[in-house]
């Protein structure tokens, strides 16, 4: 660490690296010192556009020459474990973009390595620090919804956006090689918005995936239901509806709250105080007042220049760098990283099992149909033969 604060490096200069570099630059005491990518053109474009002094195609060289305190890993997930362990062993703190790893075993390896080397790891669960989400949690902690009973989390995915188009076009795309496919790269966000309230280590779960598009050869929709001791949760990943939302609804014993991260809106679902027809006036009136409050808050944030899509990411970085600087714990606990990764593994396993069950059921149906067909053929043949024999008799 120099007098300016934290020296930051980044490995993997793809699309999400832009968001990281933009947010790092917003932290005055963080200095992006180097970027690294196996593809020199990618490293170059990131270095040029963000005015970063070091550009490398080798991680060793970047560590050696730029001596970063923290390195952000924004490479495809398959490489996270190796890169993170290499960095931790070199004495560098690591920020890993979600998802953490291909499996929970890999995640455990990385965290063990961090403990051995007395370095910190932070995982990109950045929506937990989004201003709207923080406000929602504050209201829940204040008892506005009572005891949380159920959490619904929605992720609308733009499959025909710049990234999705590449995944569709390239059969060898790294996303398609993941055990959880497209979902492994994305569902941690809606999932950790559920596990924030559903704290059981191993909740019961049901999950299935399927495709809405005939021409796309991999599943594009996922549904998962989780059941803990106190709280249940449902996760909806959809790439067939518009607009592509990042929504969470929290249902409690006293009421509910809905948070829309894209529009930075929080809507309350409250019990009406007035009876019958009056309630039908009361509810829209409450919604008007709520809309005015949301508009005022967003206008105020706009005036202050705080309406950033990746505001949560900036706050997560800031908390992580503070932890690195002060030697305290990072913003995301290791237990949480392991728990979310484990639940993701189980969801994908369940989806595959459900696929296998469905395929088995289909086979069974087909064979029973064939049996029925053969049975009815045999019956009609028997009837014919009986008929002919009776004619003979």
């Amino acid at each position: 660490m120099n007098e300016k604060g934290i020296k930051v490096g980044l490995v993997g200069c793809g699309q999400i690296a832009d968001a990281h570099l933009q947010q790092i630059r917003r932290i005055p005491w963080a200095e992006p010192v180097a970027v690294c990518d196996l593809e020199p053109l990618l490293a170059r474009q990131a270095a040029e556009r963000f005015d970063i002094p070091g550009q490398f195609t080798s991680l060793e060289q970047m560590i050696e020459q730029s001596r970063p305190d923290v390195v952000h890993i924004t490479t495809p997930v398959e490489s996270h474990r190796l890169l993170a362990m290499q960095l931790l062993e070199a004495g560098v703190h690591v920020y890993v973009e979600k998802p953490f790893s291909v499996s929970v075993a890999e995640a455990q390896d990385v965290l063990d390595c961090a403990r051995r080397n007395d370095r910190l790891v932070c995982l990109g669960h950045d929506q937990l620090f989004d201003p709207a989400w923080l406000e929602c949690c504050k209201r829940i902690d204040a008892g506005e919804v009572g005891d949380v009973q159920h959490v619904e989390s929605v992720l609308g995915y733009p499959l025909h956006g710049p990234f999705g188009t590449q995944v569709i076009a390239n059969p060898n795309h790294w996303v398609r090689r993941l055990p959880g496919g497209l979902f492994q790269n994305t569902i941690s966000h809606p999932l950790y918005r559920i596990t924030e309230f559903l704290t059981d280590p191993e909740p019961e779960l049901q999950a299935s995936w399927f495709s809405r598009f005939k021409q796309i050869p991999f599943p594009t929709e996922l549904r998962a239901h989780l059941r803990g001791e106190q709280v249940t949760g449902s996760l909806l990943f959809t790439s067939s509806t518009k607009p592509c939302h990042r929504l969470t609804r929290v249902y409690g014993t006293k009421g509910g709250l809905e948070v829309d991260l894209d529009s930075q809106l929080i809507r309350a679902d409250k019990r009406n105080r007035y009876p019958g027809a009056f309630a039908k006036i009361e509810e829209p009136w409450r919604q008007v007042r709520e809309s005015v409050a949301n508009l005022s808050r967003n206008l105020c944030s706009f005036w202050k220049g705080e309406l950033h899509y990746f505001e949560g990411m900036k706050r997560t970085f800031q908390l992580f760098y503070e932890a690195v600087r002060d030697g305290s714990e990072g913003p995301i606990s290791y237990d949480e990283m392991i728990r979310v990764t484990q639940i993701m593994d189980r969801i994908f396993e369940e989806c595959r099992r459900s696929d296998a069950d469905r395929a088995g059921a289909k086979r069974l149906r087909r064979s029973s149909q064939t049996d029925e067909l053969e049975g009815s053929k045999a019956e009609s043949m028997a009837e014919q033969s009986i008929g002919s024999s009776s004619q003979r008799s």
């Binding site: 200069c13 793809g14 699309q15 690296a17 832009d18 933009q22 630059r25 917003r26 593809e39 053109l41 990618l42 170059r44 474009q45 990131a46 040029e48 556009r49 710049p162 990234f163 590449q166 569709i168 076009a169 390239n170 059969p171 060898n172 021409q215 706009f302 220049g305 705080e306 309406l307 950033h308």
Partner: protein
């Protein structure tokens, strides 16, 4: 390596075309087949080949083969270019982040050119962009031709232009190092049946509003059919290896004239005119606000980009006329009418 000479017959020549399903590529394909070439089209898996087939028609389709390929894979590229005399590289991503554009346009160009050099292709024709010039260095009302230097600070431009600057840099480097004859075609703003003429060079679209930038400067248009002819000619004319050709039509209209034509054609446009002198102020404000709010609103409009995009300049197509023998066969008036008639 065979050379493209005036004797090289086009008939039955095997050529490779990338980007054949695109707006320009499909017209280039038509030109190439009409010239008598057998055309191998490199298409990405999942591309709409049926629509391409309908576009070119059954007769031309019989001279066309399509190959599903990832252009970033050198081995696949080698297979692809094998036995091809000329490669026409028209594939490029038009939108997305800079990193995506680099991965989808620049890296594939490098692989394809490396493969073309190994397979001793006689000529590589790269479809680049007129936008890559460092026009901000020219005085106002100067003529922009092939002598003008390429922008040396491409990262300050929009992601698409930056990717085209990197693409050309990579292309010239490989051409020099691997002795691969290269011809670069730099079209202006391509418009036509599927893409209207209200480009960024005319103004910026803000929701349903068009922010007309300046308005008295010429817009370097080229009608897609004219441009396709130029690209095809760049593959076959002899003695032009190592040359660059700007492709713009004759009698270019100004931004204001384009808007007037749209209105005359009955289109309702909501336009706010920003006078030339105010474009810099607007850019200065955008830069200031973006920096003050840590990019709450990104600095899309910068003084650097304003100078590069909307400076009043004249555009020359003399070299293409003289050395390619190209003449925009469809006038701007006719091209505009066709475009309007197509509904875009």
């Amino acid at each position: 390596m065979c050379e493209i000479t005036s004797e090289t017959g086009k008939a039955a020549m095997q050529v490779l075309l990338t980007g054949a399903t695109g707006f320009l590529g499909r017209r280039v394909l038509r030109e190439l087949v009409d010239e008598g070439c057998a055309v191998r089209c490199a298409v990405r898996p999942g591309s709409d080949v049926q629509s391409l087939r309908q576009f070119v028609g059954a007769r031309r389709w019989s001279c066309t083969e399509t190959v599903n390929v990832q252009l970033s894979n050198v081995e696949q590229c080698r297979e692809l270019v094998r036995d091809c005399s000329v490669v026409f590289h028209a594939a490029a991503s038009l939108s997305g982040s800079a990193s995506n554009l680099v991965m989808n346009s620049v890296v594939p160009t490098r692989s394809l050119m490396a493969a073309a050099a190994e397979e001793r292709v006689a000529r590589f024709v790269l479809v680049s962009s007129l936008g890559i010039y460092g026009a901000q260095q020219l005085p106002g009302h100067a003529t922009l031709d092939e002598q003008c230097p390429v922008d040396s600070a491409g990262h300050l431009r929009d992601p698409y232009t930056y990717s085209k600057i990197l693409q050309e840099e990579v292309a010239w480097k490989i051409s020099l190092e691997r002795n691969l004859p290269l011809v670069v075609v730099r079209p202006g703003v391509i418009f036509g049946d599927e893409r209207g003429a209200l480009s960024h060079r005319v103004g910026l679209q803000l929701g349903g509003l068009l922010l007309r930038m300046g308005g008295r400067q010429q817009v370097p248009f080229t009608y897609v059919e004219n441009c396709a002819e130029a690209v095809a000619l760049a593959g076959f004319n002899s003695g032009i290896d190592g040359q660059i050709f700007n492709i713009v039509d004759d009698d270019l209209p100004t931004g204001r004239q384009v808007i007037c034509r749209y209105r005359k054609a009955g289109r309702k446009l909501r336009v706010i005119g920003v006078p030339q002198f105010a474009t810099n102020w607007l850019a200065r404000f955008n830069e200031w606000y973006s920096s003050k709010t840590e990019q709450q609103v990104p600095a899309v409009l910068t003084r650097y980009r304003v100078q590069a995009m909307w400076k009043p300049l004249r555009y020359s197509n003399e070299r293409a006329k003289q050395q390619l023998g190209w003449h925009p066969s469809i006038t701007f008036d006719e091209a505009f009418e066709r475009t309007i008639a197509s509904g875009v």
